[in-house]
């Protein structure tokens, strides 16, 4: 028993070290004055943060990225939720096809998706292929698995068939049933899917770089540019990027955890 506790401690320690050191290093690096001769940074400063945030391009790329991620998020919710609900309740035979479309993106790397879209729609003209709209649509493809899974899990857990029938027998129409009964019941799934889509799209570099590039610079493109010429400011941008990923993941875990607890509470009360 003692030996197993020992290897467990070692494994966990190494894992944490590997996970946390690059994050801590990037974080510290963004506040350090000079750090290439001594063990500790020679001083601390906020200069890099000031410089990076003050640039006009920072606000612009940030807002570009927010526009793309929020649009892709909202459209994904509107596209996937009704489809998942309808196939779950009324059209089970369409389910395998829906699942195929939501699994396919796993097998198509971003580079190949970009190539396919460019080769397929090039004849529509560069204005359409290399546009922010195309980027949003391509990001939605990447996001499909992340949107669909949580919604389907929520549909399975919520017993939507009974809810729908109850709503109908109480006189609710389709719209009222969808917005006032079904949507609240599967809200944890919708929210987690939406947040996952948002965070995936926000850091998406491949599609942005190949489809729009310099024409519509997003935050990750801006970050990569900086890594080539100013490491300090790039590290500040990387920290911002990490904070977004953290916030999004923690939001999903929190929403799912709360939904689980509520479900347990409901079962306990019965």
């Amino acid at each position: 028993m003692k030996r197993s506790a020992w290897w467990r401690g070692c494994a966990i320690g190494l894992f944490l070290l590997y996970m946390l050191v690059p994050l801590a290093a990037t974080f510290l690096f963004s506040f350090a004055t000079r750090w290439d001769r001594s063990i500790f940074p020679e001083g601390l400063t906020l200069n890099w943060w000031h410089a990076v945030v003050a640039r006009r391009a920072f606000g612009m790329t940030m807002s570009n990225s927010l526009v793309v991620s929020l649009t892709a998020m909202v459209l994904s919710v509107l596209l996937v939720t009704p489809t998942a609900y309808w196939t779950h309740l009324r059209l089970p035979k369409a389910k395998p096809l829906v699942e195929l479309f939501t699994i396919l993106p796993f097998g198509v790397p971003g580079v190949i998706l970009a190539l396919s879209l460019i080769r397929c729609y090039a004849r529509l003209g560069a204005v359409i292929v290399y546009s922010p709209g195309m980027l949003v649509a391509a990001c939605m493809v990447i996001g499909l698995p992340f949107m669909y899974r949580p919604v389907v899990n929520a549909l399975n857990a919520a017993d939507v068939r009974t809810l729908t029938e109850a709503a109908h027998s109480l006189g609710a129409g389709w719209v009222a049933t969808m917005t006032r009964v079904i949507a609240p019941a599967i809200m944890p799934g919708i929210v987690s899917g939406a947040v996952l889509v948002f965070s995936t799209v926000f850091v998406e570099f491949t599609l942005a770089n190949l489809l729009v590039g310099a024409r519509f610079k997003t935050f990750p493109i801006y970050l990569v540019e900086f890594t080539r010429f100013d490491g300090r400011q790039a590290s500040a941008l990387a920290v911002i990027s990490f904070l977004f990923a953290w916030a999004a993941s923690l939001a999903v875990l929190w929403v799912m955890g709360r939904a689980d607890r509520e479900r347990e509470g409901a079962v306990g009360a019965r």
Binding site: D36, L115, R119, T206, S235
Partner: protein, 290 residues
């Protein structure tokens, strides 16, 4: 099926029943199937639209064949190490006593699978680059000179960076199966005189095998398709399939577009094999979870 609710509309016949899912299918058709089919079909055609395999012979010319070799080797290494390290770390986390720690470590793994890309690559430059912080600490504290023997801007550096998202992904993938290993099985084995090692090798590992194989395939695909991390860390000179295809798209290299199509088609076949294999093994590993 229960015959409940007055407004039963299951009488609606098929065509109308498909209407609500039409937008989704149109999206899938025009954003996934048609574009992918375009690439696959045009990989088999020459500029005049005649059926040919010339694109594939160009895609498998020595320089480009090397890129497939590098991509596959990198994916095999990071998937193999990812499965091994992820399973050990996953088991250690599962068996930790504090439930707060188990939650926190799982949350960490969950977040890390979403990292990757440019910020991750840059974090590794800061950590292990030629003037990186760990590089510095190793040389100042222990007199270990990482450079020039090791370079983070190389395939070895990519292995380290990829493991940062591969190991956490494996932890998340293997956790349900680890939870499926019942305590009684271990106790039964130990009561019958098995050692801990025998329990793991003879009982736990065979039960875990389908999910380990499935995890390996998913990690392989994950690594094979990665682009942003490699591009940020090593730049355009590294010879990987995704980097090559991207260079062809951006027109950095003068080559017929058919070559990119053929490289993409070969990659899609590799990815398809991984995903189908994963789905098959995940169905098999369900058997132990009832």
């Amino acid at each position: 099926m229960p015959a409940a609710g007055p407004p039963r509309r299951s009488k609606i016949r098929s065509p109308l029943l498909w209407l609500p899912v039409l937008p989704f299918f149109l999206f899938g058709l025009f954003m996934e199937l048609v574009p992918i089919a375009t690439v696959v079909v045009s990989s088999l055609q020459d500029a005049g639209g005649q059926l040919t395999l010339a694109n594939f012979s160009r895609a498998l010319s020595p320089a480009l064949r090397a890129s497939f070799g590098n991509s596959i080797r990198l994916s095999l290494i990071t998937a193999g190490l990812g499965v091994a390290l992820g399973t050990v770390a996953g088991a250690a986390i599962m068996n930790a006593r504090s439930s707060f720690f188990r939650g926190a470590a799982t949350a960490l793994a969950d977040v890390a699978t979403n990292f990757g890309g440019a910020p991750l690559a840059f974090a590794f430059i800061v950590t292990l680059g030629s003037t990186g912080i760990v590089t510095l600490l190793l040389s100042k504290l222990f007199g270990i000179a990482l450079y020039p023997g090791f370079r983070v801007y190389s395939i070895a550096g990519l292995v380290l960076a990829y493991l940062y998202f591969q190991v956490p992904l494996m932890i998340l993938l293997v956790q349900p199966s680890l939870r499926g290993l019942r305590r009684e099985w271990r106790e039964a084995a130990l009561n019958l005189g098995a050692t801990g090692r025998q329990y793991w090798l003879r009982i736990a590992l065979p039960i875990l095998t389908p999910s380990l194989v499935g995890g390996f395939l998913l990690l392989f695909a994950n690594s094979y398709g990665a682009y942003a991390t490699a591009w940020t860390l090593t730049g355009p000179d590294i010879n990987l399939v995704t980097i090559r295809i991207a260079a062809l798209i951006r027109g950095e290299v003068q080559l017929e577009p058919g070559t990119a199509d053929a490289m993409a088609t070969i990659s899609l076949l590799i990815m398809a094999a991984c995903v189908v294999g994963y789905l098959w093994t995940s169905r098999r590993s369900q058997r132990w979870k009832q």
